[in-house]
Symmetry: C2
Subunit: 204 residues, 2 copies
DNA sequence: CACTCATGTTGACATCGACAACATTGCGGT
DNA sequence: ACCGCAATGTTGTCGATGTCAACATGAGTG
């Protein structure tokens, strides 16, 4: 069998570091996400991560990027499911967003962490986050074409929808609603969103 | 004149520390909020802050608390202004929320910082944040009574409103909408919110 | 006037991010 | 087959930070 002595070169250290980072965040929160701790967990020296990440923030950004990719996949899966069932794609998207947030709270926290405020410094992160946004805008446009959503700038309507869902997720994650059932609130929010965007047949 | 030599006792160090903390965040971001940096700015020794804050997180929590108080004042002022002008109090609240966020981005970031996720550890913070929430619920109830908002659990409706406005503020602060005019987006969101909550005269 | 305790200071330690200098090895060109 | 280079890891180190313990100061109270 192959010698168990760790080969000097790890193979795919970058990926291992990312996975360890996710575990750390899950177990001990974002504050515990330390370059040295990640290195320890993977079993490499404390400076090894610097070969793959410029600094701590770069690691955080990379983890956030992973999070966005995961969410993007979840959103697209939800949209396809909705399309197959002839259901409302927009609503499905909103529900999927909140569900992903509740299922991966630490990922969400990293994705929108304060440290990463200036996206300009992390183009890859900005890109994947932008794609996510585009998916949403696209669904809004489709819903408009199908006559299910009021006319108007799809960018602005999408932003409104995103705001609502994102805010809901964040408030739930932050425990701002301690005595409530998250899913009920999410439902209420989604319903309000539907009403707000729906084509209004009546006067007013 | 009074001796300029710093008296051994500062007088109101706690308040000074809080103000220095706010300045630091404004100037250099949340990451620069360091116990030692705050102490330096105030001109006391590096361990002095420990007489007023248990640890770094406690300081952050206290700053967040200040932020909530400021926002609460802004919201209440906006509500009163709206009442005098017979305008819609709920909309005024939403606009005031986003405006406060855009005017005090660093405060907002601290208020909803990741580190303070478990509010249980900071009762004072939880309290003032809860009061803010109550104000919103109250306005929703009033709007319902005035027939301007659909019937339903005011808690849930208020949460939906809060979600939307909070999400809008957060996304704008995070620069997720780089090529847009913040105020336009805020308007769009608020309008969507109004529509979503409004009493529907027509058929669905 | 003396005592006491809150408030502030000094000094120390472990940890962290970051860098530089050095070690190892996979890989491509000859 | 050999050489050499560049990517990848390691060790050592530095300054800064959070945190604690031991000590100093003085404001207010009896």
């Amino acid at each position: 069998m192959r010698a168990r002595k760790q080969p000097y070169h790890h193979g795919d250290l970058r990926r291992s570091l990312l996975e360890a980072a996710l575990q750390l965040i899950d177990e001990q929160g974002v504050a515990a996400l330390t370059l040295r701790a990640v290195a320890r967990r993977v079993g490499v020296s404390h400076a090894a991560p610097y070969r793959h990440f410029n600094d701590r923030e770069s690691l955080v950004a990379a983890v956030a990027e992973e999070g966005f990719r995961g969410m993007l996949a979840a959103l697209q899966a939800a949209a396809e499911r909705a399309a197959r069932n002839k259901a409302d794609g927009l609503t499905a998207l909103g529900v999927a967003y909140v569900e992903y947030a509740l299922a991966h709270p630490s990922a969400l926290r990293v994705m929108f962490a304060t440290e990463l405020a200036d996206r300009a410094r992390y183009p890859a992160l900005a890109a994947v986050s932008s794609v996510t946004h585009d998916v949403l805008v696209q669904r809004v446009s489709e819903a408009q074409a199908a006559g299910r959503v009021v006319a108007g700038d799809p960018q602005e309507l999408a932003f409104a929808a995103w705001s609502m869902v994102h805010g809901c997720a964040m408030l739930l994650l932050d425990g701002q609603m301690p005595d409530a059932v998250p899913r009920d609130l999410a439902k209420a929010v989604t319903r309000c969103l539907e009403l707000g965007l729906a084509v209004r047949k009546g006067a007013k």
